[in-house]
Assembly symmetry: C2
Amino acid sequence: MQAWKTYQDQHQERFLEELKDLLRIPSISSDSTHQTDMQTCAEAVKKSLLDAGVSKADIYPTAGHPVVYGEKIVDPAKPTILVYGHYDVQPVDPLDLWHTPPFEPTIRNGMIFARGSADDKGQFFMHVKALELMNQSGTLPCNIKFIIEGEEEIGSPSLGAFVSAHKDLLKADVILISDTSMISLETPSIEIGVRGLAYIQVEVTGPNRDLHSGVYGGAVANPVTVLAQMIASCHDENNHITIPGFYNDVLESSAEDRKKMAAAPFNEKEYMRDLGVKSLWGEKGFTTNERTGIRPTLELNGIWGGFQGEGSKTVLPSKASAKISARLVPNQRAGKMTELLLNYFKKIAPPSVSVQCFELHGGEPYMTPLDSLAYKAAEKAIEASFGKKPVPQRGGGSIPICSLLEKELGIKIVFMGFGLDSDNLHSPNEKYDIANFYKGIETIPYFHQYFAEESQKKS
Amino acid sequence: MQAWKTYQDQHQERFLEELKDLLRIPSISSDSTHQTDMQTCAEAVKKSLLDAGVSKADIYPTAGHPVVYGEKIVDPAKPTILVYGHYDVQPVDPLDLWHTPPFEPTIRNGMIFARGSADDKGQFFMHVKALELMNQSGTLPCNIKFIIEGEEEIGSPSLGAFVSAHKDLLKADVILISDTSMISLETPSIEIGVRGLAYIQVEVTGPNRDLHSGVYGGAVANPVTVLAQMIASCHDENNHITIPGFYNDVLESSAEDRKKMAAAPFNEKEYMRDLGVKSLWGEKGFTTNERTGIRPTLELNGIWGGFQGEGSKTVLPSKASAKISARLVPNQRAGKMTELLLNYFKKIAPPSVSVQCFELHGGEPYMTPLDSLAYKAAEKAIEASFGKKPVPQRGGGSIPICSLLEKELGIKIVFMGFGLDSDNLHSPNEKYDIANFYKGIETIPYFHQYFAEESQKKS
């Protein structure tokens, strides 16, 4: 048995308790009332890094929430792994659907329930604990750096400036990110791509005040109706997106790639049962895995306008708003697609209303090359700890900072995610399986070992 | 000068103060947290009737909010006028758009701002004060009865049972209602019809929980998108309602009637400026006054689903809901139209979601015959106090109890409304012009006088 595994077996219950402490901090980055919690969480992350054995750790203020940096340089000649993660979490509403409070971590059926348990506190914390066990067992084959930010869930607005101001500090050979999922512990997989994101808000204003729907109904455009018509215009009967130019830059997958993808295990009935739906939905001509992996999409994330209370109010609302986001695939670009969306909604607005649109956040799609050192090391690490070669998979989510990090630092990214699609990310009752948490901690030192070996082979 | 007018001139400032006291009670019938305020308000109405000179007044409990009844029988041989009004008010949200608090009546530029000032406290209270001045000046030509209910804004669910249990108590020769508007003090008008209402809620449920829009986006039907598509399907490019059967029972107005209607003064530019819109909207082939008067409509009163907070949340919502209401015209029936709407939304739901619909409230359209005694008396009363014959007009709003009252009591209704379309009914900054309040009080005794005369002529 590996030396680090022995250490892990002796200490991993404490690791779980430490994770629970981190999960108790309500670090919701999008909500300005949680400003103090963000600082508290950054300090807790810094302390955890120091406890795990980094030789230095700092909190860097930014224009938004702070970035936590830490490093352990074993030998400048050895390869360096830069671990990226985020300590901020999504909002928790609708709160009444949580079975236990989102910031009181609760263990049920071998899973830990809390906002941030899988996304991403529970996942970046595996790297902190992996450092501790490599450090304590004297098995640190690479240098390690950490950059744990507090704005991932709001599109990382301050990270670009930070990275570009600290290129030397962040110098590394690979970026390792655990913020994605795998198929299951029985079928380990590696995400080789994440989708990009273009997220906007559309606001439709009709009359200058809420009106009596009887006195004015029928003579004045209703902004809710108009917004609904605008939204309905975005898809055709095959659920193909009809916004002109939407698919222009999509790199179509080859028949061979699609065939490989189709080999991944997928049980449609189980998928539907888990979601409680009677039938699936999506772009005609593509499978479910393709719809969430290689195809761009347009989702309504929220809508509101007029009277939403108990009972009835006969009002013709002054305003209706929606949050709308597109998931992007190579070679779509977030900036261009955001412009495309903004222009579309402005253009189709009828003269009876005024429409204001603005960007909320965006991020580029990203692909890990299968022939990279980093991918090979990740593949071997998972094979070593799981006893099975992982399946490469395209992920549906977005990690907007990927192309930023690659561009600024000139290095490749590998995703080693240990979450599951059923973790309720961004939803009530987010959870992380404790077995996955432990398995991740065990696997990470293998990655360090194989990455050192692969790097040596190459040089 | 009429005796009552002299009394009014001496006392009307006190009348305004008394109205303010009534407006301070937040009697929102749709909100169960205002239960106590409803009782308080009913008691205040009863006291105002006793102070004005009714010989008896009672509060009748119902399954919902209480009904206030009062009467002054001068002589059983004289005709009896039954005044209907309501002491309940609409909700006040969005509260931040009010310039002064909705339940702190404030006078600015000759107008009294408060929720309920025009709809309907300020209007039914004119009848209370008119009774006082007829009583005090010894000029009561008719018997008078009052029925002031507390559930008009929620569809009067308890009034039917009350009326049908108290037919003898409510026996009268005409029902007089001040809960509508006129064109202006310079162009007085009488509403000869009100539209009916069929108000429903539609709830679309997709997955059993909010999902991550990246992990699942593109593969699972988004309930906001589906709801938007359902709403968009209700109108065609001419803003004609496309729900099958929607117009089946509409009694088309004759070319002659439409010509008469077109003679009413209407300034489209001023109308648009007041509403802050660049162009009007509506069913092709009809004028604005026709669209709000003789045509049925379909309005979105509210919509909500998914994330509505600050910033962005990449969620694929589990549920989206809307409040939808149709205004009805003769001979559409509320029950049938409600069924039509409920069935439509259930029927068009795609299999990827489940749809639940239910009725919120409804009411029948109503027309006052122009050759009725009551209409003639109202016409003469307005001519006497305004010096001008009123224009007959079709109103856009709904007073759902009209056809109920007519059916149960077997008598006609006449609308003598003194509000203005610009009173912001159901909106922030509801107001009532003090001049209209005073003019209404002055006009009502004329109605009593002419109704007595017309009744005598007939018999």
